[in-house]
Amino acid sequence: MGYFRGFAVTFRKMFEKRVTTSYPADKRPKPARLHGRHVLNRYEDGMEKCIGCELCAGVCPARCIYVRGADNPLDEPVSPGERYGFVYEINYLRCIHCDLCVEACPTEAITESKLFEFSFTNRSDAVYTKDELVVDVSTGQPRHLPWEDWRPGDDEMTSGWMRATSSSGDASYSGRVSWSGELGHGVRAPEVGQLDPGTDTDPEGSVGT
């Protein structure tokens, strides 16, 4: 009679609570570590964090990132080093939001916001340029493009995932701010089990050696 148990299952399901929602009308809160549209961050002084090292482009499995570096102009520097990201483009028709670029970035320049509702009617709109990706110099907030549906909180704590997986390749450094606070976002507190290794007495707390 095993055959008929299935019928009971489907019948029972009719009276259970629905797991899906009526999407466009009824949106659920996004998870804290959702991978959405990227932002390029700045330091507090307005300098871009991107140094054009192309590590993100190198690690990208979808080959959707195109970066070109250039010599930083001495009189009006864009970023704090000799090199800066001269061209930075992400093709969202190819991006799979795996976040590897964020993990590869040595300066926390690229992070992902929680915005995923952006649809374009033009292919060229899908290629985000540096101007569109970089946060506003005065407010530190991501640029809101006409076709993007930003909701409160989408632009907060955009670096959450990267911090969680350690900023410096070693989990024991995670949660420690090695570079700078994020302009407009504040510095995020360590997550559970990510206390500063200096004060963290709990051996379970740090994953690394």
Binding site: S168, G169, T209
Partner: protein, 217 residues
């Protein structure tokens, strides 16, 4: 009204029959055949033989022609035949002779039979109403003609058995397929470490010193 129905269905039957002959595409020919069968079914209804009409459609249109179509589609004979080739030698002269003979027979019958009505029996002894003829047909088949019916059934059974025997492949002719053994991890010899040469207890040297990573830049 009878005449109207007759004329219309006769036209359907004739057009269908001509279509079967003329259509170049075998599938189209088969469809014309279906049309003919339908026309005949209507003629049966006109004769109060509703059961026959239904059976005509079910058996001929629903089964026989479908089988024709199967053969045509699966064997891919949906293309024009070369009329220059005569598949059976002497077929055409023979067909001409037989066709002429049949025509002659029909004409003779027409000429001879002008005196009295044909089908007089049916006219004089009605089959009853439409609802009744099923019962009557059944009775006739399973009482007076039961032997013939059973014989036919036997014949069909023999045909089926024959088809099965003919279609059967000779035993052992089937080549064995390669058997793919999918072993589970438990069945493989050795431990994971031994197989992959990784000692799961010791940490793999990432060879990327913290001094470089964590230092200043």
């Amino acid at each position: 009204m009878d005449a109207t129905v007759f004329l219309i269905s006769a036209a359907i039957v004739l057009v269908g029959a001509l279509g079967v002959l003329v259509a170049r595409n075998p599938v189209h020919a088969a469809l014309f055949l279906v049309q003919t069968l339908f026309g005949v079914a209507v003629l049966f209804v006109l004769q109060d033989a509703t059961f026959l009409a239904a059976v005509q459609v079910i058996v001929y249109a629903g089964a026989v022609v479908i089988l024709f179509l199967f053969v045509i589609m699966l064997l891919g004979v949906d293309r024009a035949e070369d009329l220059g080739v005569e598949p059976i030698v002497g077929q055409r002269p023979l067909a001409a002779v037989i066709g002429a003979s049949l025509l002659g027979l029909l004409l003779t019958l027409l000429l001879v039979a002008t005196d009295g009505p044909t089908g007089a029996l049916g006219q004089t002894a009605p089959l009853g109403d439409g609802a009744d003829n099923t019962r009557r047909l059944g009775e006739a088949l399973f009482t007076d003609y039961v032997f013939a019916v059973e014989l036919t059934a036997l014949l069909l059974t023999v045909a089926v058995v024959g088809a099965v025997v003919l279609a059967r492949t000779v035993k052992g002719a089937l080549q064995p397929l390669p058997v793919v053994v999918v072993a589970t991890a438990e069945e493989l010899p050795g431990t994971t470490e031994e197989r992959f040469g990784v000692d799961s207890d010791t940490e793999i040297d990432t060879a990327f010193p913290e001094s470089i990573e964590g230092g200043d830049a």
